[in-house]
Symmetry: C2
Subunit: 221 residues, 2 copies
DNA sequence: TGGATCATTTTTGCATTCAAAATAGAGATG
DNA sequence: CATCTCTATTTTGAATGCAAAAATGATCCA
């Protein structure tokens, strides 16, 4: 198994919440499961620590990083900035073909919304946002976006969704697609910011906080 | 020596150009120099690879990352986005005290400009940009900014500077300070973008390119 | 019974070792 | 003389082993 694959596997384990935030990362167990020794595992953990998904405590091992409200706010803020930038660049560079692809993804997502399939809706949602970021044609931007969204993903796609909020999100997505089709960079950038600001408010209001509170909730459950 | 320290030491070696872009990283030699064994060294290299400073070639070791023109453009583009965001946030959050500090740094930098001390000018320049980014009060943003600027630093502070360009840069910095003092987020953001766009043009026009061309130059030299 | 102290076990971090892969070099061949 | 092939050496990537640090828990004493 290649180094990058090890990193990816552990990242998935963390993002799936299989090792909950704040929990110790069981080295030996993971070694057995991934069928590797401690050396490559530890290399991967250091990389994930640099990404912010893992917290290293000298002489006390590693834990799945636990996000505070402040962390979450900061991450959303940066995510907004990155998506806004991506939106502007995408409008300058995107091909008609790519726009058509995103329009198709949008239609599919709306269909999932109509069917009330939240999971598929989130999948489609993510595909659209990633599509815009990729259309910016800037791999550096895409890579940073990937690490930032990875860190907030759990909260983002776990927050309960009221009908009103969901409807708002879908209408915002209509505007997003519209701006993209008009290649209105400033407009797209603006809408994306608002869209993410709303999402952030949802997440934070949902009393997200991977803090003692939700630790407690986990223990009770 | 702590893990983070090892990463920092190697990062400095790379940023100082002691191992030039594209060159193989001599594992054994670095081990001796840092007085560590290969295990922690390789952990650090993988982290630096994730940061983009090192390129890992499976079964062929690691090299100091070599930036193409495209990489440089992408990095500047992202840097612009991050600084623009930081500028907006800083205007909302910065204290009078912090503004005074940055004003002082600005005055010092102008003094270095008048004296024609390019190295000190660059130092001051960097302090101001970092000051603004830190004033945004967003550690996630600050961390991403640090990695992006690290990657372009060499080119940024090595490019030759014509009197015209230098004068322009200083006048832009006057405008930056001005916008900050007025807490004009939109204005600051706008100026920072223009400032970085100019810097990028300088660097790229200077025929930067850590490519075959400069490889050749290195070999000849 | 509560808590402090010290031995035992476990875990961590790193050096070393070992197998596999890549590179270099000598010799053969056209 | 250039090129190809096959072996020897080096280098890489990962498993193991070992010393130091931390966690555990057993014992003693107030």
């Amino acid at each position: 198994m290649l180094h990058e694959e090890v990193v990816g596997r552990i990242r998935d384990i963390l993002l799936d919440g299989e090792i909950p935030p704040g929990a110790r990362i069981p080295e030996r167990e993971l070694c057995e499961r991934l069928e590797i020794s401690r050396t490559p595992l530890r290399e991967a953990l250091k990389v994930l620590a640099a990404e912010g998904l893992v917290q290293l405590l000298p002489h006390r091992g590693s834990r799945a990083a636990k996000l505070t409200d402040k962390d979450m706010r900061d991450l959303f803020e940066v995510c907004q900035g990155l998506e806004a930038l991506a939106g502007e660049l995408a409008c300058e560079r995107i091909t008609d073909r790519k726009i058509a692809e995103i329009a198709a993804a949008h239609a599919a997502m709306v269909q999932h919304y109509r069917e009330g399939d939240l999971l598929q809706y989130y999948r489609g949602n993510r595909a659209i946002h990633e599509g815009i970021v990729n259309a910016a044609g800037n791999p550096v931007l895409a890579a940073l976006y990937a690490t930032v969204t990875a860190r907030i993903r759990r909260a983002r796609y776990v927050t309960p969704m009221t009908p009103q909020r969901w409807a708002l999100a879908v209408s915002e997505h209509e505007a997003i697609l519209n701006a993209l089709q008009r290649r209105d960079g400033a407009g797209l950038s603006h809408i994306l910011r608002a869209h993410l600001r709303h999402k952030r408010e949802e997440v934070l209001q949902a009393g997200f906080a991977e803090t003692e509170t939700s630790e407690l909730a986990l223990k009770i459950a």
